[in-house]
Structure formats: C-alpha cells, structure tokens
C-alpha cells in the first residue's frame, strides 16, 4: 500500500501536551491550548492530553470527549436513565429523557468551574493493549489497529519506551496521499 512507517507520521512525545497525575481538568485544558499554539506541524490541532505518573510514564489519555463527559452532571437521575435501556425503553425515549434532565440540571457555566477542580485521572482513558504500536510498524498495521480498536490515536513505542503519538488524522492524511498517488499512476 505504501512505504510509510509509523515513526514518520507520529508526533514526538516532546511536542505533545502532557500533564502530571493529580492535575485538574482545567490544567489539562490549559496545557492543550499551549501545545496547540506551539505545534505547527499540520493544520490539524492536538485533540488530547497525555497523563504522566511521577516516573513520567503515560498512564492515560484525555480526549475532547472525555472533557465534555466530565462536564456532564452526574446525578442519580441521570444514572437511572442509563438503566432504562435494559427495561425495554426505546432509544428515542432515553434520548428525550436525557435532554429533559440536562436542561433541568446546572447550566454549563457553573459546571465548568466545578470541572476545573476535577482530577484528570478520574476521566482519562487508560491505554488498552491494542493502543501501542512499534515505531517501525507500517501504515497498514497502524490502520488495522485504529480501525479494530476504534481509537483516535495510538501510543508509539521504541523498545519499552513511548516515543510519540500516532494520530488518526495523520494516518488518514497519509492514506489519502497514497490514494492520490495511485490515481496519478492509473
């Protein structure tokens, strides 16, 4: 398919937004903003922050969806809504209940100040087995892992060390570029 290797497409770890374990959600958002300003590699901006433990090891990723999820009210009523599906209520009904409860809950402004006090580790996604990829792996393998695991990014390894992040957006750009090359040859 192509000659691309993961190491050619990844964002080096040093250019990625990271925060230490124990940081607040607000710290993470600030760090992300900073990284986006400094990062000029492509028109696509960073969409996540990595969480490091005290030994600088990556223990999780915090994506945009995780931040929004953290902002959502967590009351008993909403957790009851999660159960409605198993009792045979339609997805349309459940969606409407969620909307209704969301409108009754605290406005977003109030939730943001609350969320700024929340700890990142409570909302981050710990990397799973299929989220690691060797830097020498080919584009094909990267595509396979992203598709199979439905990941937005993969952690790139060199030996036992994590050296970068392979983002879906960069992989897609590479695939797109390869497709265009095919077209020219045809």
């Amino acid at each position: 398919m192509s000659d691309y290797l993961v190491k050619e497409l990844m964002v080096p770890l040093s250019e990625y937004a990271t925060v230490p374990e124990g940081s607040t959600l607000f710290d993470a958002v600030l760090e992300l903003e900073k990284a986006q300003e400094e990062f000029d590699h492509t028109k696509y901006k960073h969409r996540g922050v990595l969480i490091l433990d005290k030994n600088k090891r990556i223990i999780g990723k915090l994506g945009q969806l995780d931040v929004l999820r953290a902002l959502e009210p967590k009351n008993e009523e909403l957790s009851d809504v999660d159960q409605l599906g198993q009792f045979g209520f339609s997805s349309n009904f459940i969606r409407n209940v969620r909307k209704q409860l969301r409108l009754q809950a605290t406005p977003l402004k109030g939730l943001c100040s609350k969320a700024a006090k929340l700890k990142v580790e409570d909302f981050m996604q710990a990397p799973s087995e299929g989220e690691y990829i060797d830097q020498e792996a080919s584009l094909e393998i990267a595509v396979l892992q992203l598709v199979m695991g439905q990941h937005l990014s993969l952690l790139v390894t060199k030996g036992k060390k994590i050296v970068g992040i392979l983002r879906l957006t960069d992989v897609f750009a590479a695939v797109f570029h390869t497709m265009k090359e095919c077209e020219i040859i045809l």
Partner: protein, 473 residues
C-alpha cells in the same frame, strides 16, 4: 437432616450455575434463610374440592407448612410455608389465545417445581407462556419470604423477599427485594430492589424505582442475614395469631359468612368482621376490625385491619390495608402497604388503582380522590401529587412521560384499559359477580374445601424430608 442439607447445597449449586453470567452467588443469601430444623416442625396440607383436579406427586422434597391445591409435582425441592395454589390452572380442552394464535390445551396444566427453594412464597394463576401451556414450571429457583410467583414460569432465578413476578416467563434472572415485574418474558436480567416494572411490548412500558434509602426501613436484605424491616416486623408481630389456626384441627367460623362468600379456615379472623356477599377471604389472610363490602376479596398474605372496603375491591396477594377507608372498585396491587393512623386515616376514592408494591404510610390524614392511578412511596400530600395522576390524564399520554421517579412510554390509554380488564378478570375469577346461578368463582368454588395433612420424617437421615407421596382421586 443429612439428606436435607445435601438437597439445599444441590439447589444452591444449580441456581449459581444458572446465574453465573450475572456473577451471583445465592449461597450467602439463603444458607440461613430458614434453619433446616424448622422443616420437621410443620405438616404440609392439601385441599380437596369437587371443582379442582386432585393430582399431587411429591418426591424427595421438604414441604413444611406448605399448602397445595390442584395438580402439582415437586421434586428435589424445599418449600417452607408456601402456598402452591393451582385453582386457576388451564384445563384440557381450553383454548389459549396468544397474539394471532389459538392454541388448544391438550392436558390439564400442572405446577411443576424442581430443584427449588421457596420460602413463604405464593405460586398462583397459570402459565402465560405459549411455549409451555400445560406445564407451569419452577426450576432451579429460590424465592425468599413473601415472594409471589404469579403466572410466571421460572428457570434459574432468584427472587428477593416481597418480590413479585407476574405473568412473566423468566430465565436466569435476579429480582430484588420488593420488586414487581410484569413484562411477558425476561432473561439474564438483574432487577434491583424496589423496581416496579410493567411492560407490554409495543403498547406501554411503566417503570418506577423506589429510592433505596426510603425503602430500607421497610425491607432490606443482604447476604448472611434474613430479611429485615418494618414489613417483616409487621408480619412477625401477628405470627402467633396464625399459629392457632394451623394448630387446631376443627375451628368454628367466628363470623357470619353469606352462602355465596368464602372464608378460608386458614385465615385469621379477629373481632368485628363483616363479610358481605361474594366476598373471598383466602388462606393466610388476616382480618381485624374489617368491613368487606360485596365482591371484595382478601387474597393470600393480605392484612386488612381497622379498615372498611365498600365493595368490588381487589386486595391482591400480600397487600396490607391498615386504618383506611376504601371506596368501591379499588385495586390494591401485590404487596402494597397502605397504612393510615387511628386519628389520621387514609381515604381512597372509588375506582382508584394502587399499583403493585406501592407504600402509602401517612401520619396526617390523606385523601386520594376517585379515579387516580397511584404508585411509589407516599408519606403525605406532596408525595401524592408526585406519585399519582388521574386515570383520565394518564390515558392521554401518548409517547412518553417522566413523573418523579416514574418513567412511562407508550399509550397511557392502553395501560389503563389493560389494568381495568385485569381487575375485572380478577373479580370475575374470584366470584365477585356471582348472581346466584352464573359467574361462579373462587368465592363459591372454594367453599367446603376439606384439608388433609401430610408429615415429614422426624428423625434419621431423611429428617425434614417427606416420603414420596402420590395423591390422586
């Protein structure tokens, strides 16, 4: 006793196999639920009437204090003070209507209990499962105190105390304490305590969750201990009254009973009782200073105390009505607990439907206006406005509605009419509309039942177990 202990272990293992997907171990919940030495203390008994089949086969089972009527098989099971009432089973030649099918019933239906442990449980009605019309099975199932298995074949299930499963086939499910389920067919489901769920696919879906902190004082249950709470205390406080009716062989009827009404000899009758025409009082019902109007009924494990029911009232299995005045045509659902106070009575208007597993416990007088649907937990007028709706308004729902802790989806009119049809059917089956010639029901058919007793081994390896007993005409 050795054999009985082995039997209990076998039942626990079988249920755990069924519930492995839900990662549930019933052992700690039921190991000491009933001390096994209780099993030798009580005889079992069965009813003989000309109106019901007499067909019992009991094998390798303990049946202490349990009652049987109709066509019943038990095998490898422990039944403690349970009522297995087969007076609504289908008969050979009946036709069962299900969706577009009209299915002929080929032989008399029987209740078949195998590898199960039922404690003070009521089994009644008939199998509503079109796939098993002639066999109302209860396999690999444990039901704790005052559970109701009503028209609900069950395989591999655990029912907590005061749980009710109604007209629903269930497989590999856990039904929490004080939960009510009427959903047609369920499988591999863990229904938490205090859930009230009534579903008819494509028609309606009603769901209410009792708040657990509010429910706890009434009923709570955990591993390693028997059920606790006000509902258990309430029943325990009246236990001695039942002892007398079970100990004495011949009891005089302490009250005037019209010839078309029925008062079971195993009901407790305290002073000041009035029984009108076509009234049905089932075994293990408890009446004290109660006025029952025409066609009213008090089903198994019901308590009606210092109360007046004007007539055509359904007081479903396990319901309790204390210090209350109920108008006509009122349905009080399974295991509901309605308690006024001597100086703060509860008034319920005509045509109200009190949903199963409703708790109304008031300290100030409360009136529920006529024609209301009531559910959940009500301790005063604020709760009433949150947990009730006029039947007229409920009938207008078309789509969905959230009302407090209650979620409803579907057609409210269909829900109300289904309930009304059901109430009418119950009254009909109970003989409330008997006119002296036609529309005979339980109130008329259950008169003049004679009872025989059977006994367990009282010593040795089989202590607590009953020998194989086959009873047929």
């Amino acid at each position: 006793m050795k054999e009985l202990e082995k039997l209990l272990d076998r039942i626990i293992q079988r249920i755990n196999i069924n519930l492995r997907e839900l990662d549930y171990d019933v052992g700690p919940f039921i190991k000491n639920l009933v001390p096994l030495d209780q099993m030798v203390k009580f005889y079992a008994f069965y009813g003989i009437t000309p109106h019901h089949p007499l067909d019992f086969v009991f094998r390798h089972s303990s049946l202490a204090g349990s009652y049987f009527l109709g066509k019943i098989r038990t095998r490898n099971s422990i039944l403690y003070k349970s009522d297995i009432r087969g007076d609504e089973l289908k008969h050979r030649g009946d036709v069962f209507h299900y969706q577009k099918f009209e299915i002929p019933v080929n032989r008399d239906e029987g209740i078949d209990i195998e590898d199960s442990f039922l404690v003070k449980t009521l089994v009644h009605n008939f199998s509503h499962d079109p796939e098993t019309l002639e066999k109302f099975f209860i396999n690999d199932t444990v039901a704790a105190h005052y559970a109701n298995i009503h028209g609900s074949p069950s395989d591999g299930c655990f029912l907590g105390p005061f749980a009710t499963v109604d007209l629903t086939t269930m497989r590999d499910c856990i039904i929490g304490a004080f939960s009510y389920v009427q959903a047609g067919e369920i499988g591999h489901l863990n229904v938490g305590p205090g859930t009230v769920w009534v579903r008819s696919p494509d028609d309606f879906n009603f769901l209410y969750h009792h708040s657990l902190p509010d429910l706890d004082p009434y009923i709570n249950y955990g591993p390693g201990r028997p059920p606790q709470g006000l509902l258990i205390d309430f029943v325990r406080d009246r236990k001695e009254d039942f002892k007398r009716v079970f100990d004495v062989v011949k009891l005089d009827t302490p009250v005037m009973v019209p010839p078309n009404a029925s008062l079971d000899r195993y009901a407790v009758i305290k002073p000041k009782i009035h029984i009108s025409e076509n009234v049905l009082v089932a075994e293990r019902a408890y009446l004290q200073n109660a006025w029952l109007g025409k066609g009213a009924n008090a089903q198994e494990n019901c308590y009606i105390i210092n109360s007046r029911l004007e007539g055509f009232n359904v007081t479903a299995h396990g319901a309790k009505i204390i210090e209350a005045d109920l108008g006509k045509n009122i349905f009080v659902g399974f295991n509901s607990f309605l308690r006024g106070r001597a100086r703060s009575r509860l008034n319920v208007g005509d045509e109200c439907i009190i949903m199963p597993h409703t708790i109304i416990d008031i300290k100030k007088p409360l009136t529920i206006p006529p024609g209301h649907l009531v559910w959940g937990m009500i301790t005063g007028s604020d709760d009433l406005s949150l947990n009730s709706m006029t039947l007229k308004d409920f009938s207008k729902i078309d789509g969905g509605r959230i009302h407090g802790n209650m979620s409803f989806e579907g057609r409210g009119a269909r829900f109300v009419s289904a309930f009304r049809e059901r109430i009418h059917h119950i009254l009909e089956a109970n003989g409330a509309f008997f006119n002296g010639r036609d529309r005979r029901g339980h109130a008329q058919k259950n008169q003049n039942i004679s009872f025989n007793t059977i006994q367990p081994y009282t010593d040795g390896e089989f202590e607590g177990l009953f020998p194989t007993i086959i009873i047929q005409p």
